[in-house]
Amino acid sequence: MNEIALYVHIPFCIKKCLYCDFFSYRFDISLVHRYTEALIEEIKNIKVRNTYLVKTVYIGGGTPSILPGEDMEVLFGAIYKSFKIINNPEITIEVNPGTVNERKLKLYRELGINRISIGVQSLQPEELKLLGRIHTPEEAIKSIELAEKVGFDNINIDLIYSIPNQTVNSWKATLKQALNMSIKHISIYGLMYEPGTPLYKALTKGKVTPLSEDVELEIFNISQRILAENGLLWYEISNYSIEGFECKHNLTYWEGDDYLGIGVSSHSFIENERYSNTPNIGSYINLVKNRQSPRVWVQKLSLLDKAKELVILGLRLRKGINLVEVYEKTGVDIKKLYGKSIDKLIQEELITFDGDTLFLTERGRLLGNLVFEEFI
């Protein structure tokens, strides 16, 4: 039986962060209930649910933690009832500080959730304010401590660097405070100014000044060192963990394996076909209620496309991409097809190649796009 990663999307937020360009809906309790019902309906209607063995579950968003406890309970009830699940699956939920309390976290434990990903972003009050986060540093620390207290030993936090006015010292302070707690995994992203966001508008109006590239790079380099000193090693471009605590669910994406997305605008990738659900919550609820598929888009990947995608995604990982495995999966000989590009990238010190496996160099990790686009 093939293994699959299960993703459930919760598209609600209390307030949109100023830098976020993902689509989300404002929290509305009656809509949330109807949405939860629809999720359960979609799960019941999924055809492949008996032919796959679920190895990981990931509740992502939006802000999944604003889902009321009873909704979460019925959702997990449906998941456990409808899917075959391996022993000791990794089950993650994304939470935002300010939306959880001890009771809720305990419930998560009871539901079998064993990994928690907390959107901390920063532990400096003025930086959180600039990002438009709804919580304070204290609330963030509190939620980490609570998670620990109720028994989570696999805790991830997300942090953002390159925030305007950030300094190397303020970043160090955030990192050190975070590392004082028992964290097994950190995701670090540089702030992006995405068109359409309030932050982008502020940038074009000259109201914020982006952090200088030099400071940005210094922060990046310092992070490598500090995290390594604390036993957190990079295993993907933006992800660091204590060995053994890599996010199994996310590895599914980077290794090109199958995943099934549930919920509005979620994506699935099953047997080289990519699907996506409607991005409109109203049509999602209606379609599912009428027992119709909410999928609005399908794309079949050719073996060549699949091979190229395996390379682009696999290169993100520290373990690199093994071209022999790519050949075994797709019959495509990347080494032969892209020999010239590979030579050029080695020359430019963006990748290394041991004959079987391609790896990003340290420089390549910062300039990954120059590598990826060679295989597009």
Binding site: G190, E216, L217, R274, L366, L367, N369, E373
Partner: protein, 598 residues
């Protein structure tokens, strides 16, 4: 006698003064419109480009019939190009006429091309009918414009006809004036053929169609003719007149305007201004005024993808079939690969050719900044004419350099006298004359280097006068200037497509502007890229493009894959449009950066 009933005339005007609208009204009044064609505005401007730009590029003769006091007349209207690039063509079209209607916009008054066209008409001894157009507009200043026409151009008040071409007002009066004031053509049927070529186009099925005005004699099917400049001889296959298409007739006689088809394969054998005569009994001397067309402005045109070189060559050839003023020869650029050095009448002509190549033939071009021709006197006494800055000899060998100058007429409201004089001074102009057309309007005559005109003079003039000034100019030959070659080095390598020739005093300022522009236009790459400008081997300006240090998609999870792949595809697509120069990838706009100033 037939000649008594013929009138040959043109309409001349500054751009946008309503020339084409008036022509449309003539066609309507004489029922010359093709029956089934809907009356689109400005029917005579046929090419899409002409319509879009609101300008006339080719001449469009048309025969109309008009009855006045029960007498029928044959009117030949020759619609002429309306841009300084084509002033030679205009002068030849005017030479085909006995009269011209000088149209002036009632809201604008006399402008630079009004005056230039007026002078061309006088040189050709034409009878002029002054017309004030757009009298229906609110801002019309009829009295003021009348006074300008009287004071500056010497017309009498009772000669001036008030017209609204848009509404048709005054058009009948104008027809009467055409018939009564413009002399009928004179000429003798029994003399040898003497006909002027004033335009031509290539028809792939019939060969060259020659637009002609017969001055003496007659031509018909079977006539043996000779082009006096090229001495090429032909047997005429067809003659006729124009009225939305070709209408064959028995013959074309002295005084008439029409076309000749004679199995002419190459448009260069039917040069505008040349005289057609009988090859059996040729006239002794050609009609006056013939000039060999000489390109004034040059640029390199390169295909974006070098494998489309042959295609570009073929399509330039196709355009040339209809555009003898376009010249081109192969050019091999280190930076841009194989392409062509092309010569044009002016920058508008250049833009039209580029646009047609891209639009009609679907080519993507890299065009280098335009330049004029230079005459370099070397220390060993040679004189080299160069049309490509790349050919400029090493500075140690240069004795002196000459560049083409023009006499420019600038007409502007008098409040801008100061800024205009300052601008002309900064563009190395010499003031020849300044006169008032009326208390509010002034005309300058300046000598200016053509290179300054094609660089940014007109834009600057428009900007210092808020768009109120008009400009016209005519070449007056070469003059010595203190010119140097400015090289641009990208990562230590001279880029041949980025050379310019420039006045020594300007070199440092422009050098700085250019490297600054390039710094903005060239994307950061994996290594540092110094951009330098140098003159006579000395670096005069430098900027550095710092290396690219960070460019990576940080988040890439399940739902993102498709979106992120699209981003990468877009990034890659953008790179395809870059030209590789040494190690450095340079976008197309960079090659025009040397054109932009602060």
């Amino acid at each position: 006698m037939k000649l008594l009933g013929i009138r040959n005339f043109s309409i001349i005007a500054h751009i946008d003064h309503g020339k084409s609208t008036l022509a449309d009204r003539f066609l309507e009044k004489t029922n010359s419109m093709p029956k089934r064609k809907k009356v689109e505005e400005q029917v005579l401007d046929q090419m899409d480009l002409e319509r879009e730009r609101g300008i006339t590029i080719k001449s469009h003769p048309i025969r109309m019939y008009y009855t006045l006091e029960e007498k029928g007349y044959e009117l030949h209207l020759i619609d002429t190009p309306g841009h300084v690039d084509f002033s030679y063509e205009v002068s030849r079209s005017l030479a085909a006429c006995e009269g011209a209607i000088l149209v002036v916009d009632a809201t604008q008054g006399i402008e630079a091309q009004t005056l230039a066209n007026y002078n061309l008409a006088l040189e050709n001894n034409l009878t002029l009918i002054p017309v004030i157009n757009k009298i229906d507009l609110l801002g019309a200043e009829i009295e003021r414009v009348k006074k300008q026409l009287m004071d500056s151009l010497g017309f009498l008040e009772n000669e001036i006809i008030l017209v609204s071409a848009k509404e048709g007002t005054g058009v009948d009066e104008l027809f009467r004036a055409i018939i009564e004031r413009i002399p009928h053509p004179k000429g003798a049927l029994d003399r040898s053929l003497e006909a002027l070529i004033f335009d031509a186009y290539f028809d792939p099925f019939r060969g060259v169609v020659v637009y002609t005005r017969v001055f003496n004699g007659m031509v018909k099917k079977g006539s043996k003719i000779m082009m006096m400049f090229t001495e090429a001889t032909y047997e005429v296959g067809e003659v006729g007149y124009f009225a939305f298409g070709l209408h064959p007739t028995e013959s074309l006689e002295a005084g008439e305007v029409g076309y000749i088809i004679a199995n002419i394969k190459n448009i260069k054998d039917a040069q505008v201004g040349d005289t057609i005569t009988s090859s059996e009994a040729p006239v002794k001397a050609p009609l006056p005024g013939f000039k060999k067309i000489k390109p004034m402005v040059f640029c390199g045109l390169f295909p974006q993808e070098s494998n489309r070189y042959e295609e570009l060559k073929e399509n330039l050839g196709k355009l040339q079939l209809n555009d003898p003023a376009l010249v081109f020869g192969p050019e091999n650029s280190e930076a841009l690969g194989p392409g062509f050095r092309c010569g044009f009448l002016g920058t508008l002509h250049m833009e039209i050719v580029e646009e047609r190549l891209e639009r009609e033939y679907n080519l993507t071009l890299v065009a280098t900044a335009p330049n004029v021709a230079y005459r370099v006197h070397t220390k060993d006494g040679e004189i080299i004419e160069i049309t490509n800055p790349f050919q400029f000899p090493h500075y140690s060998k240069v004795e002196k350099v000459e560049e083409p100058y023009v006499r420019a007429s600038i007409i502007s409201p008098s409040e801008y006298i100061g800024p205009i004089m300052e601008l002309c001074r900064s563009k190395r102009g010499t003031l020849l004359e300044m006169n008032y057309i009326d208390p509010m309007k002034v005309i300058f005559s300046y000598e200016l280097p053509l290179s300054e005109i094609i660089f940014d003079f007109f834009d600057k003039l428009k900007s210092v006068t808020r768009g109120y000034a008009s400009l016209d100019y005519e070449p007056i030959g070469f003059k010595e200037s203190d010119l140097v070659k400015l090289d641009v080095l990208v990562k230590g390598e001279t880029v041949d497509a980025l050379n310019i020739i420039i006045h020594r005093d300007e070199a440092e300022k422009r050098g700085r502007e250019i490297v600054k522009n390039l710094r903005k236009l060239i994307p950061r790459q994996l290594f540092e890229i110094p951009i330098q400008a140098s003159v006579n081997g000395k670096i005069i300006a430098r900027e550095n493009i710092p290396p690219l240090k960070k460019n990576v998609l940080q988040k890439c999870y399940g739902g993102d894959v498709t979106r992120k792949k699209k981003l990468l595809e877009k990034q890659k697509e953008g790179k395809k449009r870059l030209k590789q120069i040494g190690q450095v990838e340079v976008p197309q706009e960079a090659f025009l950066a040397i054109l932009k100033s602060e």
